[in-house]
Amino acid sequence: MSKYFFGIGGAVVGFLAGLWLMLAPFAQGYQPSGAAWADPTKASFWTGIGLVIVSVVGFILYALELVEEMRRRGVIERKVKPQPQQEYTPQVASQGNSAIEQAITPLLVEMLRDMQEQRQRREEQTSRAGETVQGERSQYDRPEGERRADS
């Protein structure tokens, strides 16, 4: 990530040098204001403009790369664009319905399984209770003498 700072620094230096080259003939006085531009002034001025433009482009590109690198490393969070709301159409509705069905179907299957297990348990309990009652009833059906002998 440090490498981008050297690129940005180089672009800033180029920008400042370009600005200085554009202003130096007037600042230093070897180009009087209002007079026709001499060769040194033209060379200095146009080179300065070129350097300024190139440095600005370089600065923007290095800065964008630096921001991208910081996003990749998690230093900056990526902005999540909000999804545009879809217009309601029958196609969209059917897509939505199938999505809902896909979500609900496993839940329904689980519920049915639970209900079946509960019914089986109730039936087993009922049949066990029925056997016990039958067993007790059959005891009372036996002649009294046998019952007294058991007790």
Partner: protein, 89 residues
């Protein structure tokens, strides 16, 4: 290296070339005769061009140094991950 970074590096190289041009422009364009007393314009341009050339070269040099360092660290990390995954597997 992405396209953006390449163009960014190209601008730094252009700045270096621009600095060299500014340094030699008085003699190339012809408004400073060789051997004659240097004018104010020549002195300004040679100093500006010289400083710009040196700083651009340093920027490129340090960019290369840190780019190589980042590449070496990334390769080391990848090798460590491969070793760990082969040990687990």
């Amino acid at each position: 290296m992405g396209g953006r970074l390449r163009v960014g590096l190209a601008t730094t190289i252009l700045t270096l070339v621009g600095g060299m041009w500014v340094f030699f422009a008085p003699f190339v364009v012809g408004y400073q005769k060789v051997g004659a007393h240097w004018t104010e314009a020549t002195r300004t341009q040679m100093w500006t061009g010289g400083v710009l050339t040196v700083l651009s070269m340093l920027a490129l040099l340090f960019f290369a140094v840190f780019a190589i360092r980042d590449a070496a660290l990334a390769a080391e990390r990848r090798r460590r991950q491969e070793t760990e995954s082969s040990e687990v597997g």
